[in-house]
């Protein structure tokens, strides 16, 4: 090894603390980059393969009822490759030993052979045998929630008829990776199941013999989904078609796509922050190293080393530090990616995971990291390379200090000498002090973002369930039902309050923009379902006109109150209606349109029909109420609020905790990296000065104050800046993650601020201990002996 390379390794060993701190920050950037992109790619590949193998459909449609002969008509439509007609039926399920209401969805399987589309992926057991009348396969999440295995039994109530079913298989489907019961917002594996059953048996039970109420399509290559959708809607209009929709709008697919988009966002913000901080730290550390090695550089040059060689020498050092971070970061990132992919796999019920560690991602990480490091150190390295040797031989001129503005204001009498030293030292290089503050602030911001997600989700849930949907139970009917059903619900013992609502599926159109959702007709002055204004106060639903969720109005439809919205109703006679928009409502989960129930009934040209009801109940009588509801023939589903919230919180804890853990760890890396390096550099720059003070009789504590006081001041100054930065960052994330599925409110709790500040302060405390230890070993004689 060349002598100069030996110097390199020994220099590195000498500055190992600082190098390690920088490497840790780099590790943060690289690992989040690798983790996000590898997870993204792996899931993407898995998703594609899964969709492909299970022949996930391109277009979906529900309808009221069409004779099977219509299938041929659909198959003949231009652009259609395969059609699968199905009978899909809502069911109530009875699970022995489980008192809560359980609902589900039964999908028909062709009597013979595999389904053409949406093939269930069999985990255990088998699919129902041909002609078997009482065999079902059930989805794995539901099975696991109740410990069902092939051979077990359950009871399904289809259209009011109880049917004993044998579970023969446990399966998964790309259609139900994120399965949500009707009327609910979150998955509930215990209380919602997906079942597959032979077509004949299901059709018989559901009165759909020789008919279908659901169809899925795959398209020929190069076909525009919209063209097929239009044709399908035309054909099915007279059969009560509810409007075909493309895979992009399929709920389960939508949700996963949003989640993947989030990963992509992660893959940009975090690395940018981490690498920015790392570049700054490298700049400071290499800059300082070049300053301390001035004479060595000059000596090397005196002996004939050229500018280029000196430049290469320091560049190598930067690359060495960088590659430590790169290797550790890539390894850690790949590990995190495994963990995260597994969590996603489980969360979204992927049957398998095609974990893929693309070397291109690692290469990208390397290029970006090395680029950032080079950029960060270009100035310092250039300064080393260009140092004229004769100048390097001379000691650096004493730094110029000025009285600070604070002192000029006449406050100096209040400041002791050490404090003045601190202030003058900081103000002498305001840029460096500023960048130091920014670095610590970045850590603070990242830490805030970590906890913000939890705050925001709790807020969302609070708004949804405490302010907006305040029922204990909600009941959905299979079909629009006369309003008098309210009385039979109200008559159940223990039901204290009933509010009925009418829900009409529709396409909302404004200009060239449109959105499929349900128009909710709600009771004016309702206590259980309320519409909230921007201040989250309940507002009465206007007697005429339609109220839209803010996001739906501004971001999707670009419509303002006062303008007229077109409603293409997707049920019944499928009327196309015009309704004025009269207001907007704040809502974080999903997007909807609301009307006065009576106004909606009038608009639909129908009597006082309802689609469901929200109930307030006496909790002591819940079990009896469930039992009664289960016996009511038209009740399609019942959702229990308390369990929905609990379930959601549990689910979020698990995924978010993983993120929280990782980002908190990495945020800590940044905080420590910046604080420790700043302190360490200050110690190196000022050891002479501090040793001189010790010789003059200052105690170690007084000297420590000068040094740590400076860093402490920077740290304190950084915390409010960090809060601002954290707020900006959370605003960006909230913005980036907003979709029609949910909007993340910009809510940061005091605890989040406190935690971010605490981590930064702990980093300072650890640094202080390390620096104190170094100060105690300051060799007074040796420091003063070296040349000035």
């Amino acid at each position: 090894m060349r002598a100069l390379d030996r110097k390199l390794f020994r220099d590195l060993w000498h500055m190992r603390g600082m190098a390690l701190a920088i490497s840790l920050v780099l590790v943060g950037g690289i690992s989040t980059f690798v983790m996000s992109l590898v997870t993204y790619q792996s899931l993407k590949v898995t998703q594609e393969r899964y969709y492909d193998r299970q022949r996930f459909a391109d277009v979906f449609v529900n309808l009221v009822r069409a004779p099977e002969s219509v299938a041929e008509q659909l198959a003949a439509l231009p652009g259609v490759n395969q059609v699968e007609t199905r009978v899909v039926a809502p069911v109530n399920i009875e699970v022995e030993g489980f008192g809560d209401p359980v609902t589900g969805l039964i999908n028909s399987l062709p009597e013979f052979g595999e389904p053409r589309l949406n093939v269930p992926y069999l985990r255990r057991g088998r699919l129902p045998a041909p002609r078997a009348e009482a065999e079902v396969a059930i989805n794995e999440d539901f099975a696991d929630a109740h410990g069902f295995e092939p051979g077990d039994e359950l009871v399904a109530v289809i259209r009011g008829r109880r049917k004993q079913l044998d579970i023969v298989g446990i399966a998964l489907s790309p259609e139900f990776m994120y399965a949500i019961p009707p009327g609910a917002v979150f998955p509930d594996y215990e209380r919602y199941g997906i079942l597959w059953m032979n077509r004949k048996a299901l059709a018989t039970a559901y009165d759909m013999d020789g008919a279908f109420n659901d169809a899925t399509f795959s398209l020929q290559r190069g076909t525009q989904a919209q063209d097929v959708i239009d044709r399908v809607d035309q054909v099915l209009a007279r059969y009560g078609g509810l409007g075909a929709y493309p895979r992009e709008d399929q709920f389960s697919h939508r949700f996963i796509t949003e989640e993947l988009r989030g990963l992509e966002t992660m893959a940009t913000i975090f690395p940018v922050i981490f690498l920015g901080v790392a570049a700054f730290l490298l700049n400071v550390v290499i800059g300082r190293l070049v300053a301390t090695e001035r004479e060595q550089i000059a000596t090397l040059k005196a002996f004939g080393y050229g500018n280029f060689q000196v430049g290469v020498h320091y560049t190598k050092l930067v690359l060495l530090i960088t590659s430590i971070g790169l290797v550790l970061g890539a390894a850690l990132g790949a590990r995190f990616a495994r963990g995260l992919s597994n969590i996603y796999q489980e969360f979204y019920s992927f049957p398998y995971l095609q974990f893929r560690l693309d070397p291109m991602i690692l290469l990208q990480a390397a290029v970006v990291t090395v680029g950032a490091a080079m950029l960060g150190t270009a100035w310092a390295v250039r300064r080393a390379a260009a140092l004229p040797p004769a100048e390097g031989m001379r000691p650096e001129p004493p730094p110029t200090y000025r009285a600070t503005a604070i002192e000029r204001l006449g406050l100096q009498r209040r400041l002791a000498e050490p404090t003045r030293m601190i202030i003058r030292h900081l103000t002498r290089r305001p840029l460096k002090a500023g960048l130091g503050i920014l670095g610590i602030a970045a850590a603070c911001g990242i830490l805030m973002m970590t906890n913000f997600q939890r705050d925001a989700i709790q807020w969302m849930v609070g708004v949804q369930y405490d302010l907006s949907s305040r029922e204990d139970l909600s009941v959905t009917f299979t079909d629009p039902t006369p309003q008098r059903a309210v009385y039979s619900l109200g008559a159940i013992d223990g039901v204290t309050h009933v509010e009925a609502h009418r829900s009409v599926p529709a396409r909302l159109v404004h200009g060239h923009r449109s959105y499929r959702t349900a128009v909710e007709g709600i009771a004016p002055g309702g206590e259980l379902q309320r519409v909230l204004n921007a201040e989250l106060e309940p507002v009465p639903i206007p007697p005429e006109g339609i109220v839209l969720t803010e996001y739906l109005a501004t971001d999707i439809l670009h419509i303002r109150p006062g303008e007229v919205l077109t409603l293409e109703v997707l049920e019944g006679e499928r009327p196309v209606l015009e309704v004025p928009v009269v207001g907007t409502t704040r809502q974080y989960l999903g997007v909807n349109a609301y009307m006065d129930r009576a106004a909606l009934n009038r608009l639909m040209g129908e009597g006082p029909a309802i689609s469901g009801a929200r109930l307030a109940v006496d909790s002591k009588l819940q079990a009896e109420i469930y039992h009664e509801l289960r016996e009511m023939p038209r009740v399609a589903g019942t959702v229990v609020r308390a369990t929905a919230i609990r379930q959601f919180n549990e689910m979020m804890e698990e995924t978010i905790l993983y993120f929280t853990f990782i980002t908190a760890l990495l945020g800590g890396f940044i905080a420590f990296g910046v604080v420790y390096n700043s302190a360490r550099i200050a110690l190196s720059e000022r050891s002479r000065e501090l040793a001189s003070l010790r010789v003059l009789g200052f105690t170690q504590a007084e000297v420590g104050y000068i040094l740590l006081g400076e860093i402490g001041l920077l740290t304190l100054a950084a915390i409010p800046v960090g809060f601002l930065f954290g707020n900006a960052l959370t605003a960006y994330v909230a913005q980036a993650f907003s979709s029609d599925l949910y909007r993340i409110p910009l809510i940061v709790s005091p605890a989040t601020y406190a935690l971010a500040a605490a981590v930064v302060l702990v980093s300072f405390a650890i640094t202080a201990v390390l620096i104190w230890h170094k100060l105690s070993r300051l060799d007074l004689i040796e420091v003063l002996k070296t040349r000035e």
Binding site: K7, R10, A298, F303, G304, A390
Partner: protein
């Protein structure tokens, strides 16, 4: 004594701009250095000795005037040419040794021999200055005199045409200084390297072939010693 001129300087002038003040470090200096001679440059601090040495060694360039090194005008040379000149022909010894602290004695010398064209082995150079026993010690493990001898070994290891020493004993006590001077004299004698030693210590002048006095940026006088006194006999 050989009479080949190694360095020829004519009308050398060096002005430093310090803010609004111009400081003249050298005023019209003419100088010839001959092959193999041992020259002591004597003068008080601020007399311009170091500036002259730096210009001769290609570390600095003159504001005006010419410096010729065997047919090359250093005054007209660019950065790259000066680097090559230093690499191939000049050895420096500094007052504070300027060893690389993270390299051992042997490695400090190797750092220079690795880029030189016809160097001796680092061990050989260290042997020549009496440091053959302490090859693997780091600078921090060596005394000042030992460090300076390593620095001399580093300077001579490339077989330079000229050895330029700026106050080589300035930081050393008399006894240690003598050992260092002996090493310099030995290199001069055995390798025939032209050696220029800057000092304000008049005693050292006794070991020179020629003594040049500097004051106020000018050469104020020059004399030739008829007999060189061995370094071992010096003391101050």
């Amino acid at each position: 004594m050989a009479k080949n001129v190694v360095f020829r300087a004519r009308g050398l002038r060096k002005v430093y701009h310090m803010g609004e003040v111009d400081v003249v470090a050298l005023r019209e200096v003419d100088l010839d250095l001959y092959e193999g001679e041992f020259v002591v440059l004597l003068g008080p601090s601020g007399s311009g000795k170091s500036t002259l040495l730096n210009i001769l060694g290609g570390l600095d360039s003159a504001t005006s005037g010419e410096v010729w090194y065997s047919g090359h005008n250093l005054a007209a040379a660019n950065e790259r040419e000066l680097t090559a000149f230093r690499r191939d022909h000049v050895g420096f010894v500094f007052q504070f040794y300027n060893l690389i602290p993270s390299l051992t004695a042997r490695e400090n010398v190797a750092a220079v021999t690795e880029i030189a064209t016809e160097p001796m082995r680092p061990e050989e150079a260290l042997e020549l200055v009496g440091m053959g026993q302490r090859l693997d010690h780091f600078p921090a493990q060596l005394s000042g005199g030992e460090q300076q001898r390593v620095a001399i070994a580093r300077a001579i290891a490339k077989n330079p045409a000229v050895l330029l020493c700026d106050e080589p004993t300035g930081a050393l006590d008399s006894a240690t200084g003598v050992v260092v001077l002996e090493a310099l004299a030995r290199a001069n004698r055995e390798l025939g390297t032209t050696t220029v030693v800057i000092t304000h210590n008049v005693v050292i002048a006794q070991m020179a072939d020629r003594v040049i006095h500097m004051a106020d940026g000018r050469i104020s006088g020059s004399e030739r010693n008829d007999t060189r006194k061995p370094a071992a006999e010096l003391s101050w």
